[in-house]
Amino acid sequence: MLYLDHASTSWPKPDCVHEAILRYLRDVGASPGRSAHRLSLEAERIRFDAREAVAELVGMKDPMRVVFTCNATTAINLVLRGLLTPGCHAITTGMEHNAVLRPLRTLEAKGIAVSIAGCRADGSMDAAAIEQHIRPETKLIVANHASNVCGTVLPVREIGELARRHGITFLVDAAQTVGAWPIDLHHDNIDLLAFTGHKALLGPTGTGGLAIDDDFAVTSLPALISGGTGSRSEEEIQPDMLPDKYEAGTPNIMGLAGLAASVRYLIEYGVDEIIEHERLLTRRLIDGLGDIAGVRVVGPGDAQRQTAVVSFTVDGLACSEIARALDENHEIMCRPGLHCAPRAHRTLGTYPDGTVRFAPGPFTQEEEIDLAIEAVSSIARRGIDG
């Protein structure tokens, strides 16, 4: 069995992740922030471990500015719905996931203007493509760091620099990159970074959050969800303090226990090691698939400029059928279609038919990549079930 769907959710997770989740369930169990007994405090320690690890990974000094949500989508919604008010303008890119575009379209109906800066046919863009859309009322630039369709990495540092120069808030959708690509909140000029726990961070589903730069004033960003935090219990208004402001309600500590373990594992293992390994796999995939007659690889086709996400089409064959055959006949799991990113597929010229996406992970072996290439080659030569 070969799992090539890491861009959806990574699997398998390191053993320490299972162990941390089990330990929480078996030995701790309580919720953090609510009571002050030892088990509740231990739950808070676990959550703090996760904050410290994420902060360290993205180059932040203050773990209090890492707030947890249940995924990147919630973190993105928190920012877009909180920051953008009628009359404002926001700029995004032609490579976004629906996690960004759907909330923006919802806001558009409420009087918020949205511009989409175009990208090249391989998904790439220069910061200048964004600059031309800036208006006096532009409040936010939101861009994904790497595409979930074809791995193209956008120049976030340059975009961030531009945003700083114009006094515009910059939100990065880093769902595909934290843990798989270098990222540093401060050096990359990022105000707000949305991350998810279950992809390259190797944690469980239902974890994610928002990393907030030291200089970003949280008073300008209302909470998406308000409610109990365990702090300021005498007050009926949402406290403004971090992290409580954005963490109302009992959190997914079981998930955060796993995330704390997985991020610590990544830091010790070395993100650079993983990048190096995944680059090897990506190059092998791009070259191998590219050599098959009738196969077209979409995106940069350059392992230096993309994450380990390789999308392709096969002449005359439907993506969904290819994926079915890969699963049923070759035990290879991948994701076909539009990948929740119709806009990105339009940019890449693969809308509405979509692509087949192979996304290996840190534990995928080179021989496994060869098996996947062999399977696609056989399908391209002999037909779907040939």
């Binding site: 002050a36 808070e44 959550r47 209090m64 365990g230 702090s231 300021r232 303090m241």
Partner: protein, 75 residues
């Protein structure tokens, strides 16, 4: 002089942050339920040896932990 002092913080996360910073400096910091007469910002507070109050405050400020105040604990 009181034997202990308590560091009052705003959130449980601050309490854990403080505990971690102080323990890393080998200080005997212990989390306790906030004595009701001292406030209700947060259910947990950090108990420290009163003689270490100044050092603790310095360490916490350097690490960026927000604290409300440090008060002697009269038992």
């Amino acid at each position: 002089m009181a034997e202990f002092a308590v560091i009052l913080v705003y959130t449980t996360t601050d309490a854990i942050f403080a505990e971690r910073v102080l323990r890393r400096a080998d200080l005997a910091a212990k989390l306790i339920p906030t004595p009701r007469h001292l406030g209700s910002d947060c259910g947990s507070a950090v108990r420290i040896p009163a003689s270490e109050s100044e050092r603790c405050e310095e360490l916490l400020r350097t690490a960026g932990v927000s604290l409300s105040r440090i008060v002697p604990l009269n038992t």
